[in-house]
């Protein structure tokens, strides 16, 4: 009798624990959904949540907003990676609840989200008309003219490098000379890299997958045809060529630090002098500064292999499931106003997508102390002007891009497969997606 009672007790407590564990997984829900569906009156306090990822530079801004609007408390939730934020967004969009009042989304997810445009508030408003670069605004506008999100930043890419490691390897370290040294195509970038690794213990770049991203951002139609139909990966010779080039540089020539971006080892390598260069879109400056805290020698050169390139950049959206869509829209408009974006840029290097901010002398004059007082405003503006290709990214971009990312990491980081076998696996996985 005793024993079965203990067993039953244990079973019940196990059940209780599982149940409570399930409850615990639901952290960070919006405050009292539905409970305060009525529009906030002037003296009623409301809480708005803003969900971002990586570094948006909003830490000070959300406080400032509460100072300006004492009735609005802004909670800022930061996801460590964009993928994590995207998973969260998809899950809660499907569940119909649990999203923040303002959700940041990356430009690459926009085509996918556009399929569910009715789940987002139409943010079109005459007050913000013409605020952004035309292509930035166009990318978030649905075919029937709905504006999905307010643009925050864009990601014009430059090369960030370690001046001290360049110097130790006998390369020029001044940022103007480095720009001249690396001027040219990707071949040039890899050739200089071979020269560098021959004279240094460190790797030339951090991750093959990061370089791959930089390269496909210069291709008009990387994974999908302009009409939105996917290009079967096995027949995508252009991507295969880029893959081969990156893998040759990373594995055969050993230029890569064999890291997967955003992994623990990657973050640590910033502290251990693991690599000398990396592709840096504006928003990456804050990431580098965070990971390389205390490390001296980072600098940024006004150059990018193969011309210009844009990597990422985000939007703020207002999901319809929130309790205060009007208030959220106001906050999103405020956060993405040129003045605020300039502050975010000063804080974390997120380069503005707003026309007025781009023309502001404040931006052009701004420097970044961590990057050896480099004139980051001027450099990134130059890099933005050098962007000549806006790649087409359709609803399946993300799915196919993830397969190539796995393929590269298998060959570069994990070394579980040789490059050809790894590519074959990606092609097989493409078949599993069941597209077309």
């Amino acid at each position: 009798m005793h024993k079965s009672r203990i067993g039953a007790l244990a079973a019940i407590s196990a059940l209780a624990i599982t149940l409570s564990a399930c409850g615990g997984a639901n952290t960070g829900s919006t405050p009292a959904p539905g409970g305060s569906a009525a529009p906030a009156t002037s003296d009623e306090k409301i809480t708005l949540t803003v969900a971002t990822f990586n570094e948006f530079g909003y830490e000070e801004l959300v406080k400032e907003y509460t100072t300006l609007n004492p009735n609005v408390i802004v909670e800022h939730k930061k996801a460590a990676t964009a993928d994590e934020a995207r998973d969260n967004l998809n899950t809660r969009l499907a569940a119909g609840s649990g999203l923040a009042d303002i959700e940041a989304i990356e430009v690459d997810w926009v085509p996918e989200m556009m399929q569910y445009a009715d789940k987002f508030v139409d943010l079109k408003d005459d007050a913000v008309k013409g605020r952004w670069l035309d292509w930035k605004e166009a990318a978030a506008t649905t075919p029937d003219g709905k504006l999905m999100g307010y643009g925050t930043d864009i990601g014009p890419e430059a090369i960030c490098y370690r001046a001290d490691m360049f110097e130790a390897a006998g390369l020029p370290s001044d940022r103007a000379e480095v720009a001249k040294l690396l001027d040219g195509g990707w071949d040039k970038y890899f050739t200089v890299g071979k020269d560098f690794v021959a004279k240094s213990d460190a790797a030339w770049f951090d991750a093959a997958d990061g370089v791959f991203q930089g390269m496909i951002n210069q291709i008009e139609t990387p994974f999908e045809n302009a009409d939105g139909t996917p290009i079967p990966l096995g027949e995508n010779t252009e991507i295969k060529k880029v893959y081969d080039q990156v893998i040759t540089a990373a594995v055969t020539d050993d230029l890569s630090a064999d890291l997967a971006q955003w992994s623990t080892d990657w973050s640590t390598a910033f502290q251990n002098d693991g690599f000398a260069t990396m592709l840096c879109p504006g928003w990456m400056l804050g990431v580098i500064e965070g990971n390389a805290e205390g490390v001296e020698g980072w600098d940024i050169a006004d150059v990018f292999p193969g011309g210009g390139g844009n990597w990422g950049g985000s939007y703020l959206t207002v999901p319809t499931q929130g309790a205060h869509p009007e208030e959220a829209k106001k906050l999103a408009a405020w956060l993405t106003a040129p003045e605020q974006q300039l502050k975010a840029f000063a804080s974390k290097g997120t380069f503005p997508s707003q026309k007025e901010a781009l023309a502001s002398p404040e931006l052009l004059k701004s420097t970044n102390a961590f990057f050896n007082d480099a004139p980051t405003g001027q450099i990134l503006t130059n890099r933005a002007n050098a962007v000549s290709v806006t790649p087409f990214k359709g609803p399946n971009y993300f799915a196919i891009r993830a397969l190539t990312s796995d393929a590269i990491n298998r060959a570069d980081v994990d070394k579980t497969d040789d490059p050809e076998a790894s590519w074959a696996k990606a092609v097989a996985a493409y078949g599993d997606l069941g597209l077309s």
Partner: protein, 315 residues
């Protein structure tokens, strides 16, 4: 007279029905939060069902055929079993051993007993975060320690078996103490006169453990083995948090069945239909393995125990 019979009848009814009434809240709750989702999942699994788009056409068993044909299905199944065996087997053995030690006459008993439960209190996500740093390939503490004794760094995030070992370590860290306490509770319920009788018969401690303790623990061993089977085959938190991407590695070295399910439903394919199919396949596998476990444990644990003792264990 007749009123007495009525009351007697009522009382008999009370005796018969009341237990079911008392236990019914659980089953009602289970029907709502357990059975209904279970059946609904079966319904989803025979449809085209998009994560956000919702219900599509009826497709019969196509989702099942699709996932069974995918390379990653086999990979996930293999990984799940490998992690399950690497964690559950040592865990149950260690838990019985530690429980036997704690059952002995120790000073500060409560301290030791609560001590083994401590890791259980730590949230699994926190455990994973810490362990994934310890097991980092290039910068992890474990590889640094191995280097000091001249062993080459192990690719805990690239080698398949090594990643399973690392994840099994997290699982064992968390669950061994919990199972120990369950075993300990059962051990303390073993009537002491059985041990006295065994001592009189001249049995060594080792013999006592095998011939008295283990057979008396049979019901508990079955319980622990079945719960850890269910838990082990559904493992998700630890492998998901094992790296920052949470996909199970570039070659899906440590992607388990539940992570595969998640990838199908919430990842690139966004197919709830396929995810639901995997959920049902997993359900079937767990039932089969649970049965096998049940039969095995029954056989092992009743080994050479005297009949009288077995009866006692059942009571």
């Amino acid at each position: 007279m007749s009123s007495t019979t009525a009351r007697q009848r009522l009382s008999r009814l009370d005796v018969r029905l009341s237990p079911y009434l008392y236990i019914s809240p659980f089953f009602i709750l289970f029907a709502v939060v357990g059975l209904y989702p279970l059946l609904y999942t079966a319904f989803v699994s025979v449809h085209d069902w998009h994560l956000i788009g919702g219900q599509g056409d009826f497709v019969g068993l196509k989702n099942y055929v699709d996932v069974l044909g995918q390379q990653r299905f086999g990979r996930a199944l293999g990984n799940t079993f490998s992690i399950f065996l690497l964690s559950s087997v040592p865990q149950v053995i260690a838990a019985i051993a530690i429980a036997a030690l704690l059952d002995a006459n120790l000073r500060a008993k409560t301290f030791w007993r609560m001590g083994v439960l401590l890791p259980y209190v730590v949230a699994p996500v926190a455990v994973s975060l810490i362990f994934s740093k310890l097991f980092a390939d290039q910068s992890g503490l474990v590889n640094t320690l191995l280097a000091t004794i001249g062993i080459d760094p192990i690719g805990f995030h690239s080698d398949r078996l090594a990643s399973h070992l690392a994840i099994a370590t997290m699982v064992n860290f968390r669950w061994t103490g919990y199972n120990t306490l369950i075993f300990l509770a059962a051990m303390q319920a073993v009537p002491r006169d059985l041990y006295e009788a065994a001592i009189v018969d001249g049995a060594s401690r080792w013999r006592q453990f095998w011939s008295v303790t283990v057979p008396m623990l049979r019901a508990t061993i079955i319980f622990v083995v079945i719960t850890s089977t269910i838990g082990g085959l559904q493992i998700f938190d630890e492998p998901r948090m094992y790296d920052t991407l949470g996909l199970g590695g570039s070659d899906r070295q440590w992607m388990t069945m539940t992570m595969y399910l998640y990838e199908l439903g919430w990842g690139a394919q966004k197919s709830f239909g396929r995810a639901a199919a995997v959920a049902w396949i997993l359900f079937g596998i767990i039932i089969v393995i649970g049965m096998v476990n049940f039969l095995l444990t029954q056989r092992i644990a009743s080994g050479d125990a005297p009949r009288r003792v077995r009866k006692g264990a059942r009571a």
